[in-house]
Symmetry: C2
Subunit: 324 residues, 2 copies
């Protein structure tokens, strides 16, 4: 190990030590390493791994406007009252371009800004070679090792991102609100199959009861595979805290079920498998030739021009690599 | 070539021949092959490739409820009036579980059901090893070779799926509507950077003018890299056809710009590169060991239990494979 490597390693160990003491700045710097796919990650994960597995990771998802941030803020307040330390990771996989799109949410959650038992951070994954499948478990590992009891992973939007995030957490809460579109549109969003709990927020608004009723019917009909958990459909008004205590109770009930039935272990193993597979594929991808006649760019020109089919192109790239 | 291989090849050639004649059933069966990642795809793509590159591929995206299906229906009517043959591919990458979630849209577009110059199909990509990055260009290749002048790719939801779909098309139209959330939420969706044209639909509703105004400001500020195309912000009321002619004009203006500036060629080459890379990675992934102590499942158990870090796990899997 060179002197500068040793120095870098000592810096990393110092950062981890301060993160374990709950120092927000150190935790934030570790998350930045994750976000950027920094070269220190291998060492960081090796050092953190023995201290992980304790935090409960709760995913919270739903379309824009359903009140995700308000709900997160209410959950923080309630969990803090129980003495838990809470970290929030606002993942924005929707934009590989513009970092910090979730700044608005962070601002809205400033009521917790001075509480050292709370850590709030938005994270982009655009710099990360393995994408969300690697970045999310790595960030969770940092927060878990830093001693947070609960890690709330908040995501924006509906679509593939939700399904991916659902694979990264222990339990997925799907938020809806009245007036955001009809039942068919909820089904479109593909969230019926991934929610462990459904919450109709803004329950004081007109139409909330019928959304709850319709959702209960849809959840009952959704194909959830062999699981024997029946996802509850709850109502909240996060803005004034109504229904949040009940939501926490149901989260605890889910945790007990998931721990006892082996569901939690199965999900964590699947998550680890995806993470490792993504790391393997990222390193294989880095070994593919890009330039020259059999490089990715060379064959792409031919494929785009209609002179070469994509399978023959893929064969060429593989043969030219050291992997074929 | 065995007798059964020869028979399969003859069947495939027959299907392609009927698809070229515009027979909807044959086109549908080819898309099903794509959707399922069938083994015939290699041969199919080889046979289709020489006849591709002519269709204009238009992506249409936006949150649920903005009126995507109504806009697609209005675009079909207008393009048919110009004598174009139009195919619609409704891609639903949001749910790897439930196929046919877009059935509602297909039903709403039944007014074109008897027109042989129109082909409408929703497509799931859950069966496809290479995912959307492979399935979408393959389906477009089928429709292109079948002689459609325009292929409309409609997607559901906001999020990563949109960004991925934008990479698969020649031009991306982003749809919004008044009353669907404020500007910050539009920015969250990450669509400002991917839209080549923005359309505020339901322009007869209250608040439409201010959405247009706000969007113009946001588009002007968005980081779009080195492109010199300034995305227009249009208004439509797709339900009665208002603004659709103008939208088609702007699409033509974009096409002229993209063809002249090399933008279209660049996008098609990038699309081909992603497609080939995805095929290569899918075949590498298939070569990874899954079982045993150094298989993906074996190491995942250790990683999930906190006994092994993910990087060391990835090293083990690579070493045990024939790829390391």
């Amino acid at each position: 190990m060179s002197a500068s490597d040793r120095r870098a390693r000592e810096d990393l160990i110092g950062l981890i030590e301060r993160a374990r003491q709950g120092r927000g700045r150190a935790i934030g710097r570790l998350i930045t390493l994750v976000e950027n796919g920094a070269s220190e990650l291998r060492e960081l994960m090796r050092l953190l791994t023995p201290d992980t597995g304790r935090a409960r990771v709760i995913g919270l998802t739903g379309a824009p406007g359903v009140g995700k941030s308000t709900t997160v803020a209410a959950l923080i307040t309630a969990l803090r009252a129980q003495g838990h330390r809470v970290a929030v990771l606002a993942v924005d996989p929707s934009s590989p371009f513009s970092g910090g799109a979730l700044l608005g949410d962070r601002v809205r959650m400033q009521q917790h800004a001075l509480d050292t038992g709370v850590f709030i951070r938005s994270m982009a994954t655009r710099g990360h070679l393995g994408g969300l499948a690697v970045a999310a478990p790595q960030a969770v590992r940092v927060l878990d090792a830093a001693g947070f009891d609960t890690v709330l992973v908040e995501t924006v939007g509906v679509g593939q991102s939700e399904v991916e995030v659902a694979a990264q957490v222990d339990v997925t809460v799907v938020l809806l609100a009245p007036g955001m579109g009809d039942g068919i549109q909820a089904a479109k969003a593909g969230v019926l199959e991934i929610g462990d709990l459904f919450v109709v927020n803004k329950a004081d608004r007109e139409g909330a009861h019928s959304v709850v009723r319709e959702l209960r019917n849809m959840v009952a009909l959704a194909d959830r595979g062999p699981e024997d958990w029946k996802p509850p459909v709850l109502s909240t008004t996060a803005a004034d805290g109504t229904g949040i205590a009940k939501l926490l109770d149901e989260l605890d009930r889910f945790s007990a079920h998931a721990t006892g039935s082996g569901l939690q272990r199965g999900r964590r193993e699947l998550r680890a498998r995806r993470e490792v597979e993504s790391l393997v594929l990222a390193s294989l991808r880095a070994a593919l030739p890009t330039h020259g006649g059999a490089g990715l760019e060379g064959v792409a020109t031919e494929v785009a021009a209609g002179r070469l089919d994509p399978y023959t192109a893929a064969d060429r790239v593989l043969s030219a690599s050291t992997l074929g």
